[in-house]
Symmetry: C2
């Protein structure tokens, strides 16, 4: 009996030793954080909210989110873990926690960024703020180039990466070319993306090797002057993609479009501005009210962009008929594209955008 | 000034009257609830848990879920609202609340079920149990045939539908043909489906006009004898589709497969049993441990089914190479297909399953 107990204890100790790989943690702020359109010392926010204030509490909160940001690093660790803290912000009912406040890792293999694992937020513990987990383990030996996307719909207050104690980790240079600013609504923000790296802006960037900054502001992207002034400040922008017509009413589009373009254009005289028509929402399928409201928005958008294109040859318009496929199955709630919706959307917009960018030597 | 106040009050009253359409609520249990494989008086559970006990608290809880159930009704109401109560169960971090505890409405138009709207769970109020919302409003006049899917990952304790006070509502006959039992893991359960009607079983049924019952049990589908005994009790099953190899270890597949098939086969001598190979998980991309574990499962699954096919001509095996496409982007977390993953999966399995079913006059 005593012998059996000793054997059990020994087995338990050995098991623990085998599983408890020794790790060390490093602050991800010391690695290469990409995705901020305007350089700032704030490590994990897409905009420096001490500089950019929008006069709207929700917009100010969103500006502080880590949307579109990613950490680039090289490591020969066989395990990658993370400890991170988010703000406790609630998600919408159309979004999973991994997309909202999780982490999404890709590792480069034969030149391609391949999905490696997620950092899954801890939803069972109060106050839903601190998370810890293994993103990937038991990897083969050798150096890996890593791209870790940060939460789409929350702030990151801190982020530490855990690697094998004897492994190295260092910042990886940004391999993405050019600088493309994607400004838009919840669709750009990635409201119903399954993972942080699955927003259409992140996918367009990863698929084409281009550097995209995500300035999607869910429900709040109404061609406000404050956004135009912020966009004017962005250095070295090579192109703008606008999902500008999903949030404003038709009247707001008519009222605000020209001033918005004037401000951006003044700061970026020859930079292509590519306007996406807003998608044909599935909420229109049976609601006569939504049908009329959305059709009016689309009409206003098309009229305003086409008129402006007559006097500005660096403005472009992309129609949205095929953004959601034809099966009525591509949204989480009638409005927000799922990963399937973004796949249809990218199949439509990617070749068109690439063709435009090519004219500017962006390829 | 007084005049202005009176005008304001009048305007407010008129506005309120215009928006406050009078509704009446009916208990959805009195309409046609479909999706229960074995007839029961319990209105919104897929199995009667007083009859079926699995000796595992999680499985018993899942059996009580409304997974795969839908309410069929006809109404000429221009508005459809819902009030419903769920159990407060927590979702995984890979699932949005609409899929977990929401409602998903389709209306038949020219013979096709078209998405109409969602019942979005209320996540901001404690205890996250009671929900109320408009699914669709401002519809054109006329009678509509409606199909309302119930939550994938929770119980429905009560469900009332709100319609215009002067509108009619009545049960709609089940238009789906045959009876196909889909038994499986979280993949079948619909773990990362965006909406209740987006699980692959629901989509296969809706797309092909067939009646599918969802018996996906997340993480708990390990070829247990108790499941086989329950499947043996299902009356009038025309076909079985099994996602049987996602949860068990290779050893469990070797040990349990034959007894499982024996029990089901004894009760359903000539019914086709279609086994899906488990998907190639994206968690294998870099983890050598997961690669070995999953490869062993797939080997065991293939060996066991192929051996059995030699003596049973009503058993079929579908390979899974293309279940997740080739872009490594089709899962929410490396394991669970998103709506995009299910789209790839259905593109692969639907023609193969339909070809098999056709041999049995199931079309």
């Amino acid at each position: 009996m005593t012998k059996r107990i000793i054997v059990s204890i020994l087995a338990a100790v050995l098991c623990t030793a085998a599983f408890a790989q020794r790790l060390r943690y490093v602050d991800a702020a010391g690695l290469n954080v990409i995705g901020q359109p305007i350089p700032t010392d704030v490590p994990f926010a897409r905009l420096d909210t001490s500089v950019y204030k929008f006069g709207d509490a929700t917009i100010d909160r969103y500006a502080d989110y880590s949307t579109g940001l990613a950490v680039l690093f090289r490591t020969d660790s066989r395990t990658i873990r993370a400890r991170w803290e988010t703000s406790g912000a609630n998600s919408g009912s159309n979004m999973a926690a991994i997309g909202q406040k999780g982490l999404d890792l890709y590792i480069r293999k034969d030149g391609e960024w391949i999905f490696a694992g997620v950092g899954s937020p801890d939803m069972d513990k109060e106050p839903y703020d601190r998370h810890e987990g293994t993103i990937v383990a038991d990897m083969a030996e050798g150096m890996k180039e890593c791209l870790l996307y940060l939460p789409l719909f929350d702030c990151v207050k801190s982020l530490e990466l855990g690697i094998d104690e004897d492994a190295s980790i260092s910042p990886q240079e940004n391999p993405f070319r050019h600088k493309i600013i994607v400004k838009g609504s919840s669709i750009t923000h990635g409201a119903a993306a399954s993972r942080p790296g699955m927003s259409y802006a992140a996918r367009f960037g990863r698929d084409n090797g281009m550097y995209c900054c995500n300035l999607g502001f869910s429900g709040k992207s109404k061609l406000q002057k404050e956004y135009a002034l912020m966009l004017a400040d962005i250095p070295d922008a090579d192109a703008f993609i606008f999902d500008a017509f999903s949030n404003p009413k038709a009247e707001e589009i008519y009222e605000r479009f020209d001033e918005f373009v004037d401000i951006v254009r003044k700061a970026h005289p020859d930079v292509p501005m590519i306007f996406l028509q807003t998608e044909r929402r599935e909420t229109r399928n049976f609601s006569t009210q939504k049908e009329a409201f959305e059709a009016a928005k689309q009409k206003a958008a098309k009229e305003k962009v086409l008129a402006r294109m007559k006097e500005d040859r660096h403005i472009y318009f992309i129609s949205s008929e095929d953004f959601l496929g034809d099966g009525h199955i591509a949204t989480a709630d009638g409005t927000h594209p799922t990963d399937l919706g973004f796949t249809y959307m990218l199949e439509s917009i990617s070749p068109k955008i690439l063709k435009i960018l090519k004219k500017y030597g962006i390829r």
